[in-house]
Symmetry: C2
Subunit: 121 residues, 2 copies
Amino acid sequence: MCGKNEAECCEQVEIHEELLKIVNETMPEETELYDLAELFKVFGDSTRIRILFVLFEAEVCVCDLAHVLNMTQSAISHQLRILKQNKLVKSRRVGKSIFYSLADDHVRLIIAQGREHIEED
Amino acid sequence: MCGKNEAECCEQVEIHEELLKIVNETMPEETELYDLAELFKVFGDSTRIRILFVLFEAEVCVCDLAHVLNMTQSAISHQLRILKQNKLVKSRRVGKSIFYSLADDHVRLIIAQGREHIEED
DNA sequence: TTTTCGTATGAGCATATGTTCATATGTTTG
DNA sequence: CAAACATATGAACATATGCTCATACGAAAA
């Protein structure tokens, strides 16, 4: 580990204090950091990503999602719950079925940015 | 579970076929879906998010990151490895220290979109 | 060259996560 | 009301993940 005491690290003392100050000013609250990580965690699963890509095209019921993605109704349902809790999708009941759709356009934008990133070189 | 056979689901047959066709056309390759999820997984941890917020402000060495975020050098180093592998940060050596900085601006954009989303209502 | 400093990394452990299975809930139909 | 259908949910299990500890690596200084 570096430095013998708090202020001494990498032989930089002033820069250190400066950095601490700036970071303390710009770093979001603990709650927001946690919520942010929580949000991205939702995007961090290929099953949920696939569900979102289907919802980019149409409003569909759980049953169709399961069929199109070739997965169990239960698995899909569990993931939809997570997507809904994080307000990425919304649902409405039509008879026995429940149709899911995108909650807002941030979802498209975030995924678009992600695609741009991984398509570099 | 729904439907007795493949084409029969929620009493919708044609819509089903239509959906399958559209999804097959627009759904990215398995590899890309996996990479996308992998990328967002990187953003899905508050420690890494905090590291990125520091790098938003300045180019810093591992030691300073550990100090500013009040975490072990090892823990920070492990996370930096993940961030680097996914090309979110880059590094350069200066003497004994290694300075890390943002790899590109997609990082800022993605996090900005995320913040917008969680700040709704 | 040996020591010191800054960083990287592998093993181990505790926790988190995704899927399956069984079952519950809610709606429509007979 | 009972049966059938669509979806939701809890428990269990296997895998993934983040941190710690010990240690290795790499560069600079003695």
